[in-house]
Amino acid sequence: MIEVKDFLNYLCGVLEYRFLTGIEDKRLIPFYNNLDSKLLSYIPAISPRTAISMANGVSVGGVKAAVILDEVSFNLIKDYFISPIIIIVITDGGYKPKEFKSYKIVKNIKTGLKKADAYITEKGAPCLVLINKDKLV
């Protein structure tokens, strides 16, 4: 199981992704319950397009940004321009988009996030972190 609190602490506290956005979804309730304003700024987005654009803006402004989406929303925005940000995709399992580099987090939070962060820094491209919705606590 993936503890959302540990996940956010590592993503925002250690890797310093200080901006988080995403559309509202009942599968993301564990995330909403663990948001800490001391660690990050969270802005709920109206649509996946606005979420990805806000994160793009923050990224251009020099702050590391992450977006939380479900796989249907992600499919809607993957043709848009995306700057080097982490896109956390909550999946039903078995989802693996070919267009972007992705890391699946099953148990070890740190390894997956660290690899995604290293990829973004090295390549200057967006990276996906895939999490199975049933594994979130």
Partner: protein, 185 residues
């Protein structure tokens, strides 16, 4: 009043030097490319206007978004998000030419209602600067521009001033790299 001239006046005369400008839409970007500066970012259809929220959160400097009335109707979600953000350094300059630039047909706003009404209902403070540019001295316009507190929409009715010498392509990634360097200085 031609749209190009209004935009030129705003960028060169009325804006504080340290402010940033986002130009939204392919046609408007190509038209205003003649005014090119490091602090101008041209956004095509592969990105939405809500990128301004992210930028405005990272600075206290003023950020302007140039767009047309058609852009509002095609990006309602983004404009509602901008209005909800309550960020004080966002100014949206809306050029209202009553026409769709790409198809040259009448704007959809004619059937929906007035641009002003739609923006007001979203939660924007709307100022109509159409006559202001003609009647007031430049200094007064400059002071007024520096005083406005966002998120605000400045509505300017212009003629359909499409420039015939449009640049063909503006590469978003190159433009973003340049803008990013200037923004983070």
């Amino acid at each position: 009043m031609k749209r190009f001239n209004v935009a030129k006046n705003i960028i060169n005369r009325f804006l504080p030097e340290d402010s940033f400008v986002l130009v939204y839409g392919d046609t408007l970007s190509r038209e205003l490319f003649e005014l090119d500066k490091d602090n101008i970012l041209y956004l095509g259809s592969e990105i939405t206007p809500s990128v301004i929220i992210g930028l405005a959160m990272c600075t206290k400097k003023k950020i302007l978004l140039f767009c047309t009335n058609e852009d509002i109707i095609f990006n309602l979600d983004s404009f509602i998000q901008i209005a909800l953000s309550k960020l004080k350094n966002i100014i949206c300059v809306v050029f209202d030419s009553n026409i769709n630039e790409d198809t040259l047909q009448a704007s959809l706003f004619r059937q929906v209602g007035s641009v002003r009404g739609v923006l007001f209902n979203m939660g924007f403070i709307v100022h109509d600067y159409t006559n202001f540019f003609d009647n007031k001295p430049p200094n007064e316009v400059k002071i007024s521009f520096n005083r406005v507190v966002g998120p605000i929409c400045v509505l300017i009715k212009t003629s359909n001033g499409v420039n015939s010498n449009l640049k063909n392509t503006i590469y978003l990634e190159d433009n973003i790299k340049r803008f990013k360097t200037k923004f983070q200085e």
